[in-house]
Symmetry: D2
Subunit: 110 residues, 4 copies
């Protein structure tokens, strides 16, 4: 496997785990309503990250297009999480992971 | 997150990647028929590993039961991959990753 | 494919769709906090339903064990949704779909 | 839910099931090597169909982009399955299901 694939897979899997952790932590917050969009996006972001990692690891001919979509969803998730980053440490860490993953995916897609 | 969760998540994600890589490599082998069951099991094992990692990272109340099932499928995948381990390096590495993941999942489930 | 498989796959896919719809509708409710556990469980239930349908359709040797786990998660999701069934039509419909799917999965698993 | 969503979700779930069934049937064929690309693509097509159905049912803002990608993968899977349609009934049925799903997804995406 190319090194570039390896790095992008690792970013996707790290992002998947941060998103799933943030999803859980948001559901346990006092003000769930404020993070409702965060809950929605962390779920979707975790799922596309898993799908992108699977595509790259299994040599999919669609890896570029899937990584492009993954980058788009990661950016949206990061933007939402950043709104809550000063309140919730889990949102801050999730946003950082999403930005890194989006960068790696864009590099892959190009 | 507990350290034990963290380690089990990492084993699941590593196993998921090895299984997906083995799936791809098996499909490119000269004798695909010989590794047909390997192809079937690496797919299923990759998918349950992703599901188990998601459950643990998002604090699922079903993490134990999911990890128990994951251990069962990992063992079956390892047993199949080991049949081809002397021929195919990817099967050897996949089998090792499956055994490690099964161990981590059993520990989690207990 | 056996008729029993076909019916169970259909229940799983119907339950997956109801759970995903309920997940969305819960996130749009005025009182999100009240349905936080519903959001968590509908996600997990949708995912195991998809996994169970995949297993059955692709002739997995683990179909029984996966359906057993699916039944357990469906029951938990139904029990949670029923708490909100008098307030939210989407929770009522989701609970019904989960009970039907749990029944079908238990029959499959036995 | 809009009727158009409902129809597209149904096509995605039907395609997912046909792809998973074709995956299984291809792995049991005498000449597995001949259908190796079919095995690869039915897996990926089943997974993106499940992801697209989830996105639509849960009101994802990325439904259009996901359906666009789903249409692309469905077309590739159909083209591959059609090569074996005269030999294998399961490939013929799978190709038909993929074409119908691609149509529905393109309509959704536009």
């Amino acid at each position: 496997m190319h090194q570039q694939f390896k790095e992008c897979i690792e970013e996707c899997l790290a992002c998947m785990t941060e998103c799933n952790h943030c999803f859980d932590a948001c559901l346990k917050e006092e003000d769930v309503k404020m993070v409702a969009e965060c809950i929605r996006l962390t779920r979707e972001c975790a799922d596309i990250c898993s799908f992108a990692a699977t595509a790259m690891a299994s040599g999919s001919q669609f890896s570029s297009q899937i990584c492009q979509l993954c980058a788009t969803i990661c950016e949206a998730c990061a933007t939402e999480c950043e709104k809550h980053a000063h309140h919730h440490e889990h949102c801050k860490k999730c946003a950082e992971s999403c930005r890194k993953c989006a960068d790696a995916c864009r590099k892959m897609a190009s």
